[in-house]
């Protein structure tokens, strides 16, 4: 009998990018598949085994009544549940509907919106069930994904830092783009990407979501000093992690 831990990968409203990160572990994928049983991963396999599972990786946000039911069943079947990415952790870009009129938005996209069943909000997984760990990023960092999977298999907490992108810039030796006059969300954004945008000479756009205890008013002032209005600052926060508590000015 197969005694390897059982992994399942689930998709809700999302772009598939975070689960693709697992397939993008080109050098490690076959080793991962040996260390654990990939019991259910529909994007990669037509062999789908029933639960229970030791670890469920959940991608995507909840935007339909059916999915709100489905995530409860996933939780019942899973010993550990880890959300992967901004959609599952904060609601994703599709949570911009939470700030506006979903019916009007549906009508803007579909000629017959009455055929479409969707909720007025896009909500993170933790709004529906208990989540054991949230991995940030749009998309997640695949090295961090491997760390999270290894940690849960070993029964320890994942070693994922919750400080800001600024620390990653310093480590990388990237000159601060704010000092050069470019508005940047790095000071309030959760680390994990390796401070990519500043390394490409642009400001961070916050795709890893809020760091632990972000100071938004202080950064808003710095943006203003660089000629970026409060409105532009708020719009910048309203992207892939718009619904995350730490990115809300209200």
């Amino acid at each position: 009998m197969d005694r390897r831990p059982r992994l399942a990968v689930w998709k809700f409203a999302s772009c598939d990018g975070c689960q693709l990160s697992l397939l993008d572990c080109e050098d490690e994928l076959l080793a991962v598949a040996e260390a654990l049983e990939i019991a259910s991963f529909p994007e990669a396999s037509s062999a789908l085994a029933a639960g229970p599972y030791d670890l469920s990786l959940v991608e995507g946000s909840i935007t339909t009544a059916h999915d709100a039911e489905r995530i409860r069943e996933v939780r019942r079947q899973s010993k550990h549940l880890v959300t992967i990415g901004a959609c599952a952790t904060a609601g994703g870009i599709q949570a911009l509907r939470n700030f506006g009129a979903t019916d009007e938005m549906l009508a803007a996209v579909y000629p017959s919106p009455q055929y479409i069943e969707t909720l007025a909000t896009s909500t993170p997984i933790a709004a529906h069930v208990t989540v054991d760990f949230e991995l940030h990023g749009c998309p997640i960092n695949k090295t961090q994904l491997l760390e999270v999977v290894s940690a849960f298999l070993a029964g320890r907490r994942p070693a994922i830092a919750a400080h800001s992108v600024c620390i990653e810039c310093k480590r990388r030796g990237t000159a601060c783009v704010m000092v050069q006059g470019v508005p940047c969300l790095g000071p309030v954004t959760h680390a994990g990407c390796g401070a990519l945008c500043p390394a490409y000479r642009r400001g961070c756009y916050g795709c890893y979501g809020p760091m632990e205890a972000p100071n938004l008013p202080a950064l808003a002032q710095r943006w203003q000093a660089l000629g970026a209005t409060a409105q532009r600052f708020e719009q910048a926060l309203r992207s892939f992690n718009a619904a995350a508590r730490g990115f809300r000015m209200d």
Binding site: S45, Y200, Q235
Partner: protein, 429 residues
């Protein structure tokens, strides 16, 4: 009245959530539906009011597998609206990052999602137990494509470096030269992949598709060209609405597209190849002939060979572009926003990805429309499904179900993209 219905509730080895339903009455197939229940994310609505500079980062999130395609169509549409045409090395770098996406996306589909169908495995992991070298080579090929995207874009999924007017930072010659050896080995692996998939058992099945793709005066198409079809269509991308229409069906969150007056058409590798065979270098044409392909392939099962051929082409093209690279003086050409409408249409790995944006005087989005490849292919996929199923109606449900799923996977559907865009249900007595 004996009715038999067959359902595939969740299509595996495709990107996104879809299902199939077949209804069979008196041994006759009466309906086939490809149902896309991927929850809609309403991109076209949430783009309204956003600054043009934010658009490439937002639309990338439509698809984790082909974000570059969305970024490319968007930046071209924005530049079109503001009266700019990308030229020289900036244009070449866009072609180069697109090569990376074709390599990683096609390698994923050919080796990990599609090949298991021909060899009877549920996935690449199981396939690796008997074909370890093939799977390792496939992963190496995919990694090479991803590396190219990483060098140019910062990361393989949702790259951060593409902007209207060009890039945030252009690579040095040394950075590009460093990936040339990887691409040279990737080209060799891709040639072996072509020969391997060419030996698969293919059903004798052809369909009379109307193929639609971009066509450029002298290149195999990536970022620009006219929209042409195998039935003689030849239009500017801005005239898309005159020739094509989108309609909604109650069972799908993806809009269906059709050619006005004629209906279903096919985009993607089969279409691109048939309409642009003469634009492939002689070495790649010769490899296609060696693999048993003529200049047109109408058998969707053989699309796996065409994808592998396109990987070889993308590796060669990338090497050519790298050899000719001179860093441009500026990373991005400044754009002057104006109230205007812009169109962009580029060849995503799965086919043409058409965008239209209307901007206000400050360059903010007033309206956005995005027509992804998979929603365009839905009617053709349903027609394939009907044709494949009708030859196997006497088969038990599990055999019929497997054939139907395969007929969909032939087209590498990206459902996440098309929802505004698939489960198999067979209804029979």
């Amino acid at each position: 009245m004996p009715t038999r219905t067959l359902h595939v509730d969740y299509l595996a080895r495709v990107e996104g959530e879809g299902a199939l339903e077949l209804r069979i009455e008196d041994g006759r197939l009466v309906s086939t539906q490809l149902r896309i229940f991927e929850p809609p994310r309403l991109f076209e609505a949430l783009l309204r009011g956003r600054a043009h500079a934010e658009v490439p980062d937002i639309v990338a999130r439509i698809c984790g597998i082909c974000p570059v395609a969305y970024q490319m169509s968007a930046v071209h549409a924005i530049e079109h609206a503001f009266g700019h045409v990308a030229e020289g090395q900036l244009r070449a770098l866009r072609r180069l990052i697109y090569c990376g996406e074709w390599i990683e996306s096609h390698a994923l589909h050919v080796s990990m999602l599609h090949a298991p169908d021909f060899l009877g495995y549920p996935d690449a992991i199981h396939m690796a137990r008997e074909h370890a070298e093939v799977v390792r080579n496939a992963l190496a090929l995919k990694k090479a494509g991803n590396e190219l995207i990483r060098v140019l874009g910062g990361r393989e999924i949702h790259p951060v470096n593409v902007r209207p007017g060009g890039f945030y930072r252009v690579p040095t010659r040394a950075e590009l030269n460093s990936i040339a050896p990887t691409l040279e080995s990737a080209r060799d692996l891709a040639v072996r992949l072509v020969r391997w998939v060419a030996g698969f058992p293919f059903p004798d099945f052809e369909r009379d598709y109307e193929f639609v793709a971009l066509r450029h005066p002298d290149e195999y198409p990536f970022n620009d060209g006219r929209l042409v079809s195998s039935a003689g269509l030849d239009i500017d991308i801005a005239d898309f609405d005159r020739a094509f229409e989108e309609r909604q069906v109650p069972y799908s969150t993806a809009l269906h597209a059709g050619i006005k007056g004629r209906g279903a058409y096919l985009v993607g590798p089969l279409a691109r190849y048939a309409l642009n065979f003469d634009r492939l270098p002689p070495s790649v044409q010769a490899l296609a002939r060696e693999a048993g392909l003529g200049p047109v392939c109408r058998n969707p099962f053989r699309s796996i060979i065409v994808r592998a051929i396109e990987i070889v082409y993308a590796c060669e093209e990338a090497l050519r572009l790298i050899a000719a690279y001179e860093p441009p003086r500026v990373a991005a050409v400044p754009l002057t926003p104006r109230p205007a409408i812009g169109f962009g249409c580029t060849e995503a790995p799965r086919g043409i990805c058409w965008h239209r944006y209307e901007f206000d005087p400050d360059g903010n989005v007033l309206t956005a429309r995005i027509v992804p490849p998979t929603s365009q292919n839905q009617p053709s996929m349903e027609a394939d499904l009907a044709a494949v199923a009708s030859t196997a109606l006497d088969q038990p449900d599990d055999v019929l179900r497997e054939r139907c799923e395969r007929s969909i996977r032939n087209h590498d559907p990206c459902i996440s993209c098309s929802a505004h865009f698939l489960r198999l249900s067979v209804l029979r007595p």
